[in-house]
Symmetry: C2
Subunit: 418 residues, 2 copies
Amino acid sequence: MKDLLGRDEAVTVEEALRLLAEQDLRLPGTESVHIEKAYGRVLAQDIVSPENLPGFNRSSMDGYAVNAADTFSASDTMPVYLQIKGQVLMGEKACIQIQREEACRIPTGGMLPEGADAVVMFEHTNLIDGETVEIMKTVSPGENVIRFDEDVRAGETVLSTCHRLRPQDIGALAGLGIPVVSVYKKPVVAIVSTGDEVVSPDKPLSPGEVRDINSYNLAGMILACHAHPAKKGIIKDRFDELRAAVSEAVHTSDMVLITGGSSVGTSDYTAKVISGLGSPGVIFHGVAMKPGKPVIGGNINGVPVFGLPGHPAAITVSFETFIEPLIQRLSGKKTNNVLPSRRMLKALFSRNLSSPAGREEHIRVTIERRNGALRAVPVLGKSGLVSTLVRADGIVIIPMNKSGLYEGEEVEVRLFRD
Amino acid sequence: MKDLLGRDEAVTVEEALRLLAEQDLRLPGTESVHIEKAYGRVLAQDIVSPENLPGFNRSSMDGYAVNAADTFSASDTMPVYLQIKGQVLMGEKACIQIQREEACRIPTGGMLPEGADAVVMFEHTNLIDGETVEIMKTVSPGENVIRFDEDVRAGETVLSTCHRLRPQDIGALAGLGIPVVSVYKKPVVAIVSTGDEVVSPDKPLSPGEVRDINSYNLAGMILACHAHPAKKGIIKDRFDELRAAVSEAVHTSDMVLITGGSSVGTSDYTAKVISGLGSPGVIFHGVAMKPGKPVIGGNINGVPVFGLPGHPAAITVSFETFIEPLIQRLSGKKTNNVLPSRRMLKALFSRNLSSPAGREEHIRVTIERRNGALRAVPVLGKSGLVSTLVRADGIVIIPMNKSGLYEGEEVEVRLFRD
């Protein structure tokens, strides 16, 4: 269905997300990287442990390696006496073998000698002379010992494909002796800026011109999503120039963002370019949300392409709503519906604010603490102002079926990345 | 006060944080960077706008620039007729000047011509012929116009020193024509690994040896804090070698982390090295927390130095508790006590778990959704096991004065970075 200007009618946010989710996409390939460089990368393989970790029975305390059965009657008042049979040195094979009623000095991390099955902490022992140690506490078999396969068993799947590698995961890979892993390539997201009035920030400005804000905002959000921004420069508002730039970007990138094009003419160019370059082309043109209503979603032969309105707040809201989940999908990461992907905060809304039904509204807010409670204060101002985004700490969403927010109503704030 | 082994008694977490907070630290300097490279960096200057943004009265709609007073009687049934006086071109100075009862075609983002003070959207107009347009709606002065200084006023402080630059902040700097900013240098955090049993992950392993897990875990957490990890290699457990390595690191870094050294002997070395290299030296040795009890905090002539126990979970907990806030401070960023610095999640604890009073306990948990509710399930296992960290989604803290958690009790989970 078309609106008065012959444009397709806006779809709901939910419908737009559903349309995007059902697209077939061309996924980036995989590459091998050293774990030093793999922080934040998404695994493209299961990690099956080639060996046991720690690989030997390891003391977790400074003390004496013993046969636990020898200590079963030990107490402060009735200690047990064991014969000292040398000591285990750190990082070396325990060559000693202990018999019943013998003990061997061992450091934290040391290898348990044969014959020992537990460690008594120094604190519970007394050295009588160089040959005898007094044991004042019972230990059970395995106490203060990390079993040879207790951390990881050989053959165990330690990490699964599609998992984003956190610091401790890289630590585990190092511990297992796996210095190189297969990961998905970072999605390359092209930014094509349009607008006859837009100039680069380090060029002088003539009357009627403005500097490029949006490609800088977008590049930062793309980086924060562990993807790679590729700026394609500022294109004049001409069909053939835009077509050439988008065509090139589709071939060299995994996603293309076209900024500007919020005026009717350019918006139509953008839609025509998207639909002319491949299939299925434009999948929605206009979304029932504010800001961000004029956003165009498309798919050129498996490469998602967005036409974004030129207003800074619309750029941020469109990015967080539509582009971030798609970058996530292109990154190879399994979606996790349990953990929030962003910092969220509950706060009380600071004033009454009405919102027309039939569209989802994204309100920029700052967070203040007043009388011990957190309050979300809307940053009012046009979506064309970058300063409203700079002043805001995050976003509160008023759903489509809600006619506004009351003063004191509890809201959930999605905080901007810091 | 000393414990049985002659070590200083553990301080509380609160006391340790207080001691760290009152240290005089040597702060990293500042540097100038291009905004393209300034994402996540901390400003070392106030940003005062050199000019007005957008710099001219700018249309926020496609339509006709008019004198609002001419439209005051306009309606669907009683339209007003204005004479069309050319059009404004995008990115160009509006050379036209309109008189009363004249209108001028203007695109979104176009410069308002002299004489005009509002824009009527196309949707509310009808083109009668090439010379006359029918206006069907009243606009008030300033409607659909962004005033020349509405986004930012010349002389206004847009961003303050000690603020971490987010994508939209970089966008605003670009918009104001400020391509280079002064930022604090990233703190360099040295990692000195100790342990006669520790070997690099790409070297073959002999019996009794283990691979270096901790420096990989630490490097990732340092990177996630926008700081720069500097690995200083694996040092043998000898006083003079450790002393030389720490001495070098103190001169080339802003913070030094010594890992390993959890056995009594090495722990004492570490404390002696820290106190021997400068003043005040060790400020606490042992903290009433689990895991992480043996952690040593120190300050060598303004450079914070930590001696960290070798257990992976203790490393993570010590880092999040003590090191992360200090990196924050060294980064120059103003502390924000209102916004959480990490993703937090409320969940119901899955089981009864007792915790001895007198120490703060950090429980690793996974988050599961069961019957619609989020549950935090503790990952049990020794703190020496890296696999418990790999399986966990985050940490639940049981405060010192609490004797445990009940099944079904609501807890706040600090999620690991993803």
